[in-house]
Symmetry: C2
Subunit: 120 residues, 2 copies
Amino acid sequence: MTPTSLAVTPSTVCCSPLVREPLDAATAVSVARVFKAIGDPARLRLVSIVAAHAGGEACVCELIEPLGLSQPTVSHHLKVLVDAGLLHREQRGVWAYYSIVPAALDALATVLDTQQHTAP
Amino acid sequence: MTPTSLAVTPSTVCCSPLVREPLDAATAVSVARVFKAIGDPARLRLVSIVAAHAGGEACVCELIEPLGLSQPTVSHHLKVLVDAGLLHREQRGVWAYYSIVPAALDALATVLDTQQHTAP
DNA sequence: ACGAGACATTGACAACTGTCGATGTCTTGG
DNA sequence: CCAAGACATCGACAGTTGTCAATGTCTCGT
């Protein structure tokens, strides 16, 4: 920030200028929180299994077995994913159904896409 | 496991069938490792700052200040990103230049994209 | 060859995370 | 109203992670 009017300082010699504004600290914190949520094998698989089910939703009973984790642990991971905005929870009778929130995945993909191309 | 020959068991009633194969455990581990790498505010900003520089590369000296972290900490985060395959390191004289690995970001985006649409 | 500077590595520590067993809550069938 | 089942919450514990100060390594100019 606040670029000085000095033309050349020794620490600047090695470096190239910015071609766009990087993520600010606050945005980075909120985006990283979501990446962190899927940055766990169990949770990534949960998202994948839910997405692989017809209708894009699944109940908890179908998630425990393929993961090989205890029910409380699966419940914990699901809560993390819901808190991150990646999954939506809906109680229907006795069962709780979890479904993908496409917008959340899309937002992450957009962030990744932004980092790929360097402006001219 | 071990489904009985009974036609209807209470625990099966609630669930919908799979429309595609979810991520297997091994794939989930390796993909989650990369997501985890950018699932940290400091590292996400590092990637962003590197990508925002002309040529898609930056030297360490230009990364420390905007992050507000110590030099060893920045060096540590850079190592994590390199190990995850997200950044490439190249030593040029006294300076070390880090650059984006577009293919790595692309692979993540593809995984995210796969989870978004539900097959018919 | 020597010293300076850029960056990496080490060691240490507090904070966080994943996991489980035990227990609580809520809905439904009888 | 009561018991059963689906799921969430709690408490606890081992393992991991982010951070820094101190130190090491490597490259270049003098």
